[in-house]
């Protein structure tokens, strides 16, 4: 219990760990689908505090990691064109495309900028009417309303030099795809707290009933995650499959109506490829026809760009909970956050990067440090 003394409330954490251990009578596999939760689990060693029967696996919860290779290639193609300023979130620059990454485009004279918020792209477009400003918009349901608002505002202002390369993904269809796979091992899910803050948790009801799988929406503090795990284990041991909300101080059944309204006005559901997983029906968001004039994919003629993913990276199995990052022969060897072979090693919210930051000693010990 080496990490427990770092907890905000050590007594509560210790009590939760004890209760989980008391409830467990057989092995259970639990998945979280949120990069922030993955990071907390690793940072506080929660997986190591749990009884051996409870195995935590880390789903496709990092938006940077699941952005399909061809979208990176499209962004690179667009950023390489003259007069273009491509703007995105910081982590996107180091994600490897088929041949290069956006960081190299920038290093070779491309105008690639990183922002904290899409509204900065809006301001930049207003101030630089001679630049073709493209916002590379990735993210789950948490991020989509912000990106939607940016395009909505650009249309309202008649801003003609801002467009969006949209690559949004949705969590419930990903859970459905994981549960439908013949190789699925996951028996319970921690629902993503911030996604559900925006969307509510009503979307998860069908999954719980159809697949008879318990889902507990969880927060981000160590105590939140331990409590969500306890709620899941309690359900699993009792043979129940219900939808519960551990993160009630932020998440409601209906979610944030204002955010959902703007999201629905600008985006529509589409089929989407997930890096490492493949195509998932109705799992993405693309711009509605009314916003076609803001669709960078159409404006820059990159609609036909496709890419085959290299087989070297095992992120497909990692993102489906079939393998751990440390199972990869290249983990912390050729693949590091500085030289990532796959996307989960890029973002600090990616499972491989979280394991690299907090668990690479395990590899060094087991392999003699080679």
């Amino acid at each position: 219990m080496k990490y427990l003394d770092e907890y905000r409330d050590e007594r509560i954490a210790r009590n939760l760990v004890t209760q989980i251990a008391r409830r467990v009578s057989c092995p259970w596999v639990i998945m979280e689908i949120c990069g922030g939760q993955t990071h907390t689990l690793m940072r506080f060693g929660i997986d190591e505090l749990l009884p051996a029967e409870v195995e935590m696996v880390h789903g496709p919860g990092c938006p940077v990691c699941v952005t399909p290779l061809e979208m990176i290639d499209k962004a690179i193609a667009i950023a390489s064109q003259p007069g273009v300023t491509l703007i995105s979130y910081g982590d996107m620059l180091r994600v490897p495309g088929s041949r290069t990454d956006l960081f190299h485009v920038k290093a070779h004279g491309g105008d690639v900028r990183i922002v904290y918020s899409p509204t900065e792209a809006l301001k930049f477009a207003r101030a630089n009417p001679d630049r073709k400003v493209v916002f590379f918009a990735v993210g789950f349901e948490t991020t989509a309303p912000a990106n939607a608002m940016t395009v909505w505002q650009a249309k309202r202002e008649g801003l003609r030099n801002l467009s969006m390369l949209a690559s949004h993904v949705l969590v419930p269809p990903a859970i459905r795809a994981l549960l439908s796979s013949s190789r699925n091992r996951v028996q319970g899910f921690i629902g993503p707290g911030h996604v559900c803050t925006v969307m509510g948790y009503r979307e998860y009801e069908d999954l719980v009933h159809e697949f008879r799988v318990p889902i507990v929406v969880g927060g981000f503090e160590p105590v939140d995650l331990l409590e969500a795990i306890l709620m899941l284990v309690t359900q699993l041991e009792a043979g129940r499959a219900e939808l519960e909300n551990q993160y009630a101080r932020s998440v409601t059944y209906q979610g944030n109506r204002q955010a959902q309204t703007i999201l629905g006005e600008v985006f529509e559901v589409c089929d989407r490829k997930w890096r490492g997983i493949g195509g998932i029906p109705e799992s993405g968001l693309s711009l509605r026809e009314e916003y076609a004039d803001f669709d960078a994919d159409r404006i820059f003629g990159t609609e036909q760009v496709t890419a085959e993913e290299p087989s070297e990276c095992i992120s497909a199995e990692v993102l489906q909970g079939l393998k751990k990052p440390t199972d990869c022969s290249q983990f912390a060897r050729r693949c590091t956050p500085e030289t990532p072979l796959g996307a989960p090693m890029v973002s600090s919210e990616g499972a491989c990067a979280a394991y690299y930051q907090y668990r690479r000693h395990m590899v060094a010990t087991s392999s003699g440090g080679q």
Binding site: E6, R8, C34, G35, G36, H39, T40, R43, G61, C62, P63, V64, I87, Y89, G90, D91, R113, I114, V115, Y116, S117, P118, T119, E120, A121, K123, F124, V138, G139, F140, T142, T143, P145, A146, N147, M149, Q153, R156, E157, H194, T197, V198, F220, E221, R249, S250, N256, Q258, A259, I262, S347, S348, E349
Partner: protein
């Protein structure tokens, strides 16, 4: 980039038809869209994701959650921008304010 950071609303105004506020995160304040939390006002604490407040929280929750993110060393990379003139700083020294 999928993190959400709690901050305190210092001021509000309407800019280009959008309700925005200056929201303080430790040593840095950032312009934040408040259209998704119409009930939030100056002095309130909100959870902010990519420059948009997505929910309100109480002060204790905000401070606890901010401290967690600071201890994980993820705040600085989250707030980084090529286009903002202010750089995130002093996360080690300052609380939420």
């Amino acid at each position: 980039m999928c993190l959400a950071i709690p901050g305190k609303i210092l001021s509000t105004e309407v800019s280009n038809g959008i309700r925005v506020g200056r929201v303080q995160f430790g040593g840095v304040a950032r312009e934040t869209c408040l259209d998704f939390v119409p009930e939030a006002n100056v002095g309130d604490y909100v959870i902010v994701h990519v420059g948009f407040a997505i929910s309100m929280v109480d002060r204790a929750e905000a401070e606890r959650s901010y401290e967690l993110l600071r201890s994980m060393g993820v705040l600085e990379s989250e707030l980084v921008s090529d286009l903002e003139t202010t750089t995130p700083r002093d996360f080690e020294a300052e609380g939420l304010g």
